[in-house]
Amino acid sequence: MSAPVPKIRVRGLAKAFGDKQVLDGIDLDVMPGTSSVVIGGSGSGKSVLLRCILGLIEPDAGSVEIDGVDVLRIRQREREAVNRRIGMLFQNGALFDSLTVWENVAFGLLARRRMRRAEARARACDVLTQVGLDPSVGALSPAELSGGMQKRVGLARAIAATPEILFFDEPTTGLDPIMGAVIDGLIVDCVRRLGSTAIAITHDMASAARIGDRAAMLYHGKLVWQGPASELMQSGNPMVDQFTHGRREGPITMELRR
């Protein structure tokens, strides 16, 4: 029997901004239906990695395969078709502030034009309930919501079109620990219910352990460690240990200047 094809396969991904090499040969496999977390310090290139996979940033070298198709070398129209199967929760929600909450949630559904507005609104209310929000929230504007509620709406928008792949950019940043745990729980629920493949990037260790099946650590543009998320706290890798235990001394030095 041949080995199963990874849902997402990244090979030799590299990206530099000016003379700063942000990604330097990333290899990463994410198997279907599993969740991977990528941990790393601020400015270690986690967001850039996610954006390269999503096609928001064009990498300098390397390949990104989704279901065996190299998405960096296909045409715009096909790329859009691939992106239709991907949902993303942005770090600060990135909700459209000119629209109401339900229009935000239903945005992807309406954009595909397969649904009437009334139908899309009903579906949006349904999804809002799934992330623990009252359907009445749908009529508010995003600016009226607290940070935790905005995260929930962002999550609802990401899962509304039942994507096969979900990306989470620092899902718990800016939330209190309890709300962080609640959002993590919702993420795990959604990923399980949809059977999606997920990649989350975070520097919150508790969150990484809750969300991920697999984990990887990004440092200086390279993945310095990969393994099961359960082994994060006792990986035996000095860099991962320093990071997960938040020690000041160790192989990782904080770059305060370039």
Partner: protein
């Protein structure tokens, strides 16, 4: 020697920068226009941009036009009375308003009002990842944000200028009849006799070009803004300055093309 080389290098770098900026602006405009012909078209975005351009700019543009018409009547009277040429005032007012002041002043006011708001809105969407989010929700950001605004600007400004033309001429009429002692029927007759249809249509064509340029500068600067609140502020300023200069420059070019014969 090295100082001269440095000078040349600086000059070359700034020229290259300008060429690069012009090229990226041109590509941006082409891409925005090309989406006009590829469905879907976002009517909702178009209608709200159109209202923002045309309807909500009406008060500002109306006041500008009325006062400009009034002041032209007053100023040309003081000048022309010396040569006993007061009868030319109706013609001066209508031609200067319809050919120049209507389109240009409306353009400048709308650049300050709508162009700035567009740059700020799209710029904020850029720095808060909302434009990236559009891409992940089956929506092409150019098609959704830029194309409807370009079309709205191009169609709305002529309408606005038509209103400005009428009100500007009316401003001149008010001053001429109430203050300068002209007879109302005579003033109207001489206004209509001097006005050619081409004066109006070329003025409106100018307005369409200005509307496109204003929307383009607002969208382009907002779309390419970087770096948080400060970046959005810079984009807003840049869009107003660039749109104003382009309006005046293209006004000259279009005048040269249509009226200089």
């Amino acid at each position: 020697m090295s100082r001269i080389l440095g000078l040349i290098a600086t000059l070359g770098a700034s020229v290259l920068g300008a060429v690069r900026a012009a090229g990226s602006l041109g590509l941006f405009a082409l891409s925005g226009l090309s989406h006009l012909f590829r469905p879907p078209f976002y009517w909702r975005s178009f209608v709200s941009a159109f209202f923002e351009f045309a309807f909500f700019s009406l008060p500002v543009v109306a006041l500008t036009a009325i006062f400009s018409g009034m002041v032209i009547a007053l100023q040309s009277y003081t000048g022309f009375a010396r040569y006993n040429a007061q009868s030319a005032i109706a013609g001066i007012v209508v031609l200067s308003v319809v050919r120049e002041l209507g389109p240009v002043l409306a353009g400048l006011m709308v650049a300050g009002r709508v162009g700035a708001a567009m740059a700020a809105e799209i710029g904020t969407m850029r720095v808060t990842d909302q434009i990236d989010a559009l891409g992940t929700l089956s929506t092409n950001p150019m098609k959704y944000l830029v194309t409807p605004r370009l079309l709205a600007g191009t169609l709305a400004l002529p309408l606005l200028v038509l209103v400005a033309d009428i009100l500007g001429v009316m401003g001149g009429f008010i001053v001429a009849t109430l203050k300068l002692g002209f007879g109302a029927p005579a003033y109207i007759v001489s206004t209509l006799s001097i006005l050619q249809p081409a004066d109006v249509t070329v003025g409106l064509a100018k307005a369409a070009v200005f509307g496109f340029l204003i929307a383009l500068m607002g969208c382009y600067n907002g779309y390419n803004s970087r770096g948080g609140a400060q970046g959005v502020g810079a984009a807003t300023t840049a869009s107003v300055v660039a749109a104003s200069i382009l309006v005046l420059a293209f006004d000259y070019v279009l005048t040269e093309m249509f009226f200089s014969r």
